[in-house]
Each structure stands twice: as C-alpha cells, then as structure tokens.
Symmetry: C2
Subunit: 406 residues, 2 copies
C-alpha cells in the first residue's frame, strides 16, 4: 500500500468541484461536489443522535436501498438540522438541482450539510451553486483539495488522505476528505467525510468494511464529547480500476487495510484540528482483558476536560489520567497500572504499579509540549488494546464556542 | 421546615473546628473537625470511581459495620488518592491522632481528603493539626463556617445549609457543609460533604434516606463530567433532639424533606461555584415517559461543553441543547420538543415543536446573562421530570486547570 497525494479525485473516474454559493458565508466557497460518471456502489454510516439533520435521513434512505449513485453534494454554513419538513424539502431541492445539472436522478445524488443548527437554507444560492459546481467539475488533485476546503467551518486546515495498492498489475486507489473540528464525538458515524475508490465491490461487502473501518477510526476520536446531528461518512466505489474485491482474497485484505488507513488518517486529522487545540493527544490502552474495555478506557481519558486542560498546561498531573480510567465504567486494579508519556520517540514512565516513579517534571513538561503526545496506559491484565485520539482544551475552544453563533 | 443559619454546628451536640496545619497550602486553614460527644449513627455514600482515595476505603468500612462514630476529620491540599499502602497508613495516622486527642477509638473517626492526587501527606502537620483542632472545638455557628472554609480548594465560596422542623414541641435540626468546584460529576456519591443532625434514627433507615436524597441532589450536578476519586457524603445523627425518626410518621416525612433540602441546597451551591464559572445553569426536563429518561436528558444537556460555552457567550444557540438531548441515549420525537429559557421570573420560548419561534435574540441574550439561568425542555410524552444543575464553561476553567498542579 502506498500513501499518495490527493483526496476524492485520486481514484479513477472521480471528479470534484467547489463553488461560492453564498449560503451563509461571504467571500469563500461553501459548496462541494463529488461526481462519477460510472455509477458507484455506496456505503455509509450516520449519526446515532436522535436529532438528525435532513441530509442524514435522505442519505440513509439511499444507502439502505443499495441503488448505485453518481454524486455527493455538500455545503457548509448551515447544517439543515432542526429545520422540520421545510428543511427536508430544501434538501430535496439541493439534490434535484445537482441531478438536473448532471442529467441524473435526484435519488442518485447524496447530500451532506454542516454549520449552524436550526437555520433554513434559501433556495436561490443552492440553484446558483449547482450551476457553478457543474461548470467547475475536474478530475485534478487541485479540484479535490478545493472541495475539501469548501466544506470547512471552524476547521483551520482541510483534510485529505489517499492510498493505492496493486492487484495483478492493476492499480486500485482510495481517496477521501473530511471536515470536522467541533461537536466531534462520533458514534457509529462521524462528521462529514467522503471516500471514493475505483475498486469494484459488492454493496453489502462495502458496507461491512465501512463499519469495520469506522470502529477503530472515526468512532475513536473526540474533540468535545458532543455527538453531532449531521455526522455522515460515505464511501463510493465505481469499479473503474477493473479490480473486483472479493472476500478471502489478497485484494480484499489490501482493500480493507487501505480503507482503514484512509479512515484513520482522516480521523486523526480531525482530532489534531479540534476547535482551538494546540496539540494532538493519543491515548493507547494496552493489555486490557477485552477490546470493549480497552475502547471505553481510552475514550474516557481522551474526553476528560481535566486531562485536556492538563495537556494544554503541559503539566503531568497524571492523577487525572488514573481518575478518568477509574470512571470509565470498567473494573481494573489501580495498583497494577503503569502510565507512560511518549512524544517524538522519547518515553517517560510516570507511574509504575499505580504509584509515581521519581520522574523528572521538567522532562514531562517538555514532552507534553510537543505537537503530538501519546499516553500509554498499561493495565497488565490481558491481550486487548485500543487507541483513541483527541486534543487539548484551550482558551480558544471557549472563545470559538462562546462567540455568537459560531 | 425552616431554613436557618449555619452548617455542621447547627444541630444539638455538634462542635466544629479548623486549623492551619500546613499540609500543602501556606497561610490558610487546611484541616477541619466535626465532633459529637454523644455517639452518632452514621450513613454515607462514596465515589463509584474504580480509583478510590484512602479515606474512602476507611469510611466505607466504618459505614458498612454500622458502629457509632464521634468525629469526622477532613483536610484540603492533598487528596490521599493513588498513594498505595503508605497512603492508607497515613490515613490511619490521621484518624488515630484525632482519636487520641478526643479520647475515642480510631474506628470512631471518619476521614476525608481533597486536593492533588498522587502526593503523599507528611505525618508532622497532621499531628500538629490534630492538637490545634482539639483546642479550637466549639459549637458556635462561626466554628462551623470556619470548618467549611478549611476544606475549600479551588472553591471561591464556602458552602453551608441548615434547616429545622418541629415534632411534638421538640426541634430537630439538620446542618451540612460541602466543598467542590472541579472534578465534579458525582455518581452515587459526591464531593466532600458532611451533614449533622440531632435526630435519633436507625442506621439502616438513615442510609436509605441518604441514598434517596443523593439521587436528586448531588447525583444531578456536574461541573466537568469528571467523577472524582474522593467523593464522600456523610450524615451523622446523634439523637440529642430527643426525637426518634420512624417510618410511616409525619416526623419521617419532615426529616426526609429536610435531608433532601440540605443535600439539594449544598449541591446547587457547588454547581454555582463550578471552577471558573460565571453563572448557575439549571436544566429541567418536563413530561418525560420515565424518571430515568428525564435524568439522562437533563444531565446530558448540563454536561455538554457546547451548551456550557453557549451560556458563557450568552448566545441562544438552542440547536446545541436539542443536539445534547439527542445523544443522551434516550428515544424521543424531536419534532414535539419545546425549549424555554427562564431567568429572574421571565420566560422566553425559543423552540416550539422542534422548530424556532420568532423569539427576540436580544431578549435571549439578556436572560442568558443573569446569575441563574433555567432551561426548560418539554418532551410532551409523559409525566416524569428531572432537574440537573451545572455551570458555564469559561476561560477561567481552562486557566485554573491548565495551571501547574492546581
């Protein structure tokens, strides 16, 4: 598997576009389109929030029916959530306008929205945007990147990832984009993320692999413990590589690994760009008695406000880490736990068998100041492990979210 | 039932003291003692965190054995959590020193600690503190207040509450104190809180009433979703009022109500003094199909960082409230929900049947700026309701917890 440049246009037959439709933001792009002329098989996972945005209902219906699709249209600025029947009509209008431009059916166009909850979108900018998007469609890397930029809200960087692998001399490519910075605590879903591939794959098999990839990637990140109303992860496969992915083959294993890689890479990019954050926090729980327990423990540490402010303050106040493990809802022996911090290849053991080592506070502060910090929690109980990603909690998080209607 | 002045010394026969022992803080008191010469029946609830502080193990054992007690000794500065066997020995030393001063057995002295996790306490200040406490014992209101001050950490105000009621011409009094400002998300327990009463009551009945009072008070507050390692709530009853509390009597109902009042009053004082916060946030969920669902929904809103920053920013971004209801783990119809904010007797309906009313943003900002803000969520499903208390999330929360070893 090779990591390559680009995002949603990396795979054969996929084009992308962006446009400044003026939905809410001024002077920037706010609509994106991903298109494949060859119809694509589609799989996806969505938010588990009881309050769901209009595009989530629309997409879930399309994914459930397993019909092939041609496009995904996305907008930023307004989330089209808590907008009632009118919101659903506007979502249909958005799909129809794109379908009209592309000469396909509305049911072949998936939708995704992100931004303020509870505000209605006007139809005019959507119609204008659809025409602009059609005109701008291109299969270049740049077009993919511009699409990734158009869906940003409080994100500070755009998020793309792509890989390829070979099967009998033929190249299979997967490329994806994500947006997400606040209200990030995906649960069986994630913020907006689209991955395209030119692999040929059965719809049910793709859905199975998507669920598998999500479990250890998007479902293991958290910025603020707030599960959004709009979380959507879509994977489109148009088969243009000429490679068919079937269970029990080497190609299947490669495809599975590639999909997991892109999902994990995008998930980590979202955690690292958490609203207001200054560094990526990775928490790995080792030697746990079950995978489920390892997941619960690592997510408990990654979501603790006290651990997050501790990382911001570069203060190795490790009692907060043990405390967060302790309320995860999992039984363990606190007097067996080892805690280690790791950054840029250097390790420092803070706690051995539940009590502090004579570690250097100065060294700890130095390691906690790096761009990416890993906390290793060794439970010394079994064989299972899990990794979760988050970020520090800063003044800027409060500023961004205390400001009027961010 | 009458609300009266004071705290742990309000009930007959209870004395209190405070001392500057120099455990960790300089130039302030850091030890407190509550004492009754008449032995008292004792009930309590403790943290559910797997990682428990040494005094939690000690107290739990005493409460389980149901033997009468004479005193509670408390300290601030160091939590005596994650301190291994040595921490347990030091906790025993603390109880023994007090017992020696009072002429009682160590097992008749409950203990409670709060402060930094993972640091050992020295014996010298504890011995010095025990002697000072003995000397300072007094039954005055001032002595109770000073005890409440001695156990403060990042608290900005001390917390006391007291009530009395009459039974056949005899007065029964209950008075309590609490500390708690950060790492507040009690679960079947709370931060340090001691209530004293001169009622005569059976130990099992008192324990039952304590659990009942905790469910709707301490267990319904959250500052930062972090359940502490030291949460301890103790109630001591010495019988000096001459009034016996038996099930099925008016006195029982009065006592139950009085205990709930003191617990709820102290819990609200803790939420209102949440680390760095500027206002108390109260969330009441109405017309829910079950009490359990109402609890889950109200706690989900109270703990959302996005709702908390929204209240800090005085921005009626109500989509975040609906979003937090949506991920509470409870099914409901979002299109039936009404949301109302209330402050100083004024109400403003933001959302009716899941969609926004034409409310005035200016008025909303005005109400959200008051010292105490209530959010009413009407689910329109059944008869159950619940109230949870929290606070806003501010720059100061980040500052307090990002600072070195707060």
């Amino acid at each position: 598997m090779n990591k390559i440049q680009g995002g949603v246009t990396a795979a054969k037959g996929f084009q992308a576009a962006s446009a400044a439709a003026g939905i809410k933001y001024k002077g920037r792009t706010d609509m994106a389109l991903v298109y494949t002329e060859t119809p694509a098989v589609c799989a996806g996972t969505f938010t588990t929030n009881v309050v769901k945005a209009a595009p989530v209902y629309w997409d879930r219906d399309i994914v459930t029916k397993k019909n092939p699709v041609h496009a995904v249209v996305l907008n930023s600025g307004i989330a089209n959530a808590c907008t009632g029947l009118e919101g659903k009509e506007i979502n249909y209008f958005m799909a129809s306008e794109i379908a009209g431009q592309l000469g396909v059916k509305p049911e072949e166009v998936l939708t995704a929205s992100t931004g303020v909850i509870g505000m209605q979108m006007a139809k005019e900018p959507l119609a204008k945007g659809a025409a602009l998007l059609k005109e701008a469609l291109s299969d270049t890397t740049e077009a993919g990147t511009k699409a990734a930029e158009a869906i940003m809200t409080t994100d500070t960087v755009s998020k793309e990832s792509a890989v390829s692998f070979e099967v009998d001399g033929k190249v299979v490519t997967l490329g994806g984009m994500s947006k997400g910075s606040g209200m990030i605590h995906p649960n069986m879903a994630t913020m907006l993320s689209v991955t395209t591939t030119d692999a040929a794959i059965d719809c049910d098999l793709l859905q199975k692999l998507v669920k598998d990839a999500v479990a250890d990637s998007f479902n293991m990140i958290s910025v603020d413990r707030d599960t959004s109303t709009n979380d959507t992860y879509l994977v489109l496969a148009n088969g243009e590589s000429g490679v068919e992915i079937k269970e029990g083959t080497k190609a299947y294993e490669d495809f599975r690994e590639a999909l997991r890689y892109v999902a994990t890479d995008l998930a980590k990019q979202m955690a690292a760009d958490g609203e207001g954050c200054t560094r990526l926090l990775e928490v790995t729980v080792l030697h746990c008695c079950s995978k489920e327990n390892a997941n619960m423990l690592s997510k408990s540490v990654i979501t603790s406000n006290l651990v997050k402010t501790m990382v911001f303050g570069k203060d190795a106040n490790w009692g907060r880490i043990l405390c967060a493990l302790g309320y995860a809802g999992v039984e363990f022996d606190p007097e067996r736990v080892d805690l280690t911090i790791e950054a840029e290849g250097e390790e420092l053991i803070l706690v051995k068998d539940g009590v502090p080592t004579g570690y250097s506070e100065e060294k700890a502060t130095e390691l906690l100041g790096k761009d990416k910090v890993t906390v290793l929690c060794d439970m010394k109980e079994g064989e299972a492990s899990a990794t979760a990603w988050g970020c520090d909690l800063t003044y800027d998080y409060v500023k961004i979210n205390g400001d009027y209607r961010s």
